[in-house]
Symmetry: C2
Subunit: 449 residues, 2 copies
């Protein structure tokens, strides 16, 4: 029987980082990875396989860091866990004995049972499996009209990439706007307009009733009766945690079906940790269960699991999911961190918001300048930043990280008003109108009055 001091089940970003962190902090221990496939895609890169990248291979997650750290990879589907004997069994019947187990089995695509036609030929899902991705890429290359169902990040990015690849694309979203779960309306509307300007048709506000076709999908019918023709349909209706193996082993799940973990990412069995999409999350601000599935969140959890796997370190705890993320449509980008205004109001949090818009170069006549809108959300009583969103050019990707650090540090909006920022004509807005500072100024002023 194979043995490992630490067995990591899974192959995605959480699995890789959990394995690397466990090994790096315990160089004398054997850390082994058990994953389903020979190779793993970079999950966030998958949509870009359908337009920008030429080959699926360009989106493979490199194994080099694992090789360098001397972490062996076994390929096989984990089938069951015997917690008493500390053994993980694969579907092929292999057994691996572990001292510590880290479950990073990720998430599986949702195909709603109620959706008529979901199993027709020509209906594709975005799975974290290179072989499937390659098949989907090949199939979509041959069609013209594509309907993407689901206006979340994956759906929007796939729609935009397929449009870039020359397809006639319509995206269907049940909410009034695409990306409505992530962004407040004013940002979601901007993203939606950009997507439309780029040539993607948006059918929002009604939702899908069924996929039509005999053997092969030929169209989509919406709840409002609209019929859309389609040579292919892409389902992007979300993912659910892949927690079955944990449940079967008697580990506790939370009310959303994720593996229950504590702040150290320990499951209800002290020898077993979980990280990534399969692991339970609480929102940083509301402390309610969160269903956020992001590679970035997953890697943070994996670092915490990896560093605590043999010795609990009170310095390395998970204080809750911030949910920092961004997406890009051509040269325009949209990001959000922490709570949105809509979510804060729904939670009954007393907030003040401040928005400021400018250009991301100074003077604005410099080439590459793009409008930049920033919104900060602050708890009214304390003046603490609890959320933010931004839309602009590529600098959005790091501005949203600034917001993340503000929220994580529970920064007071007053200290942002007098924060020392760095600016450069070709890289940022002017120091006189740096938008995070200006948004803070608006909030400080409205809190005074």
């Amino acid at each position: 029987m194979d043995k490992a001091d630490v067995l990591v089940v899974g192959g995605g970003p959480a699995a890789v980082i959990a394995a690397l962190t466990a090994k790096s902090n315990n160089p004398g221990k054997e850390v082994t990875m058990l994953r389903n496939y020979e190779d793993t895609p970079i999950p966030c890169g998958i949509p870009y396989v359908f337009g920008t990248l030429e080959e699926v291979k360009q989106n493979f997650m490199p194994d080099m860091p694992l090789e360098k750290a001397k972490i062996p990879v076994k390929v096989g589907q984990a089938a069951s866990i015997d917690r008493e004997k500390k053994i993980c069994k694969t579907e092929a019947g292999d057994e691996i004995q572990y001292d510590r187990l880290i479950i990073a089995t990720g998430s599986n695509v949702i195909i709603p049972k109620w959706l008529e036609g979901a199993n027709l030929e020509g209906v594709y899902t975005i799975e974290k499996n290179n072989k499937k991705i390659a098949e989907t890429k090949e199939a979509l290359a041959k069609v013209k009209k594509v309907v993407v169902i689901g206006g979340g990040f994956i759906g929007v990015e796939c729609a935009d990439e397929l449009n870039k690849a020359g397809k006639d694309v319509t995206i269907v979203e049940v909410l009034p706007h695409i990306l409505s779960l992530a962004f407040d309306d004013e940002i979601a509307e901007r993203a939606e307009n950009t997507l439309k300007e780029r040539g993607v048709k948006v059918a929002a506000g009604s939702g899908v009733k069924k996929i039509t076709g005999d053997k092969k999908a030929t169209g989509v019918v919406l709840n409002d009766g609209t019929a859309l023709e389609a040579d292919a349909v892409v389902l992007a209706m979300g993912y659910r945690p892949n927690s079955d193996i944990a449940k079967d082993a008697g580990l506790k799940l939370n009310d959303k079906g994720f593996i229950k973990v504590d702040e150290y990412m320990r499951t209800s069995d002290d020898s077993i940790f979980a990280a990534g999409d399969c692991a339970g999350k609480k929102d940083f601000n509301t402390k309610k269960l969160s269903m956020i599935m992001l590679a970035s969140t997953a890697t943070t959890e994996a670092r915490i699991a990896g560093i605590n796997v043999f010795n609990i370190n009170p310095s390395f705890k998970n204080e809750g999911t911030l949910a920092v993320f961004a997406t890009a449509l051509g040269n325009k980008a949209y990001g959000v961190a922490g709570i949105t205004e809509a979510a804060a109001k729904k939670e009954g949090i007393d907030i003040v918001t401040g928005c400021f818009e400018d250009v991301d170069r100074h003077p604005g006549k410099l080439p590459g300048a793009s409008p930049l809108l920033v919104k900060l959300i602050v708890s009214k009583q304390e003046g603490v930043v609890i959320g933010g969103s931004v839309c602009g050019g590529p600098s959005v990707g790091e501005i949203v990280n600034i917001m993340g650090f503000m929220i994580q540090n529970k920064m007071n909006v007053k200290s942002i008003f007098t924060a020392q920022i760095g600016t450069h004509p070709l890289l940022t807005t002017a120091p006189t109108k740096y938008p995070l500072v200006k948004a803070a100024e608006i909030i400080v002023k409205s809190m005074k009055s």
Copy 2:
């Protein structure tokens, strides 16, 4: 006699922000600006007038915010301050009575007395004066060979822009590398190599002895004997605080010649504040006097002066100059925040550093990907981030601001290791190798052992 509740002397970013902030927080008060010229340049944009921008006008600081806030602008050179009578006199003999005065007179270009030939025709300085900038632009348009003396930010940016405009440019720096005061060697060397690749010749390590020529400059001779031909010479040897009017009024200056101010930006006279290049600065980390002159620092000081001008607010204090800045050479950018490794060692601070390099997209095959190097500097005993530097693509401009927030918040490196960051294929590195987190990981590990 004219009267103003708040008189702001100066026209640059500090003056504008001080005036706007004072007015915004005291809407009932009259705030007046007294500045030397009809129009003011965006100071950080000046180098870009010589290459990227077509007209000097494109770099004018807009007066619209002042107009909107109903802040009248008087044009005139402030000549003296009568502190007893609370009157500011202009060179033209006008008098303005003030209740509060904010001095934001900026800095003047340094022309070293020892530099032979500095007064020859064809020798130009970079002054914050649109008329002078226009004259210099016009004159430089007619020449071929330009020697830029001084390898700080202004010198480097002017050299790069003049090169872009088709000139044959050599930059002279007395230190071993350009930008050596700002960056540790490994970053300064990269910037220097980029500048060379772009076609600028670099003569570093010797320094200028004299400018040659009869009536007109024809060349530059270095201390090591090297003779450089020149049709024009640009002096970029730094700036000194324009504090004469304060000194003449009996206000205290600090040992570096800046106007002495407290944490609220109050001078030695409680009715008079100072902000920007003319105002004294202490380094955030070392608490020693700093000579940093940055528009971004200036605007922070101006916000603090403006909000405290009538009522001191203990929430809005200047805790010292972080010095967050960045520059760009084509698609490459370089940034620094807080202390450098060299400066920390010189100060005797016990530090640990962590460097990590990757690409700023994921997968790295995506278009626009650029290498990205991050370095964090942490105080060894406490684990607190006190400095950082970064070189990479345009995202450097905001990554350096993340570092600034880390330093300002005295973040522990452990919390950066488990920070929740947001990533996107087209905007950032991968979540598995986000460089700030990876640099923190290296430091956390080295602090453990």
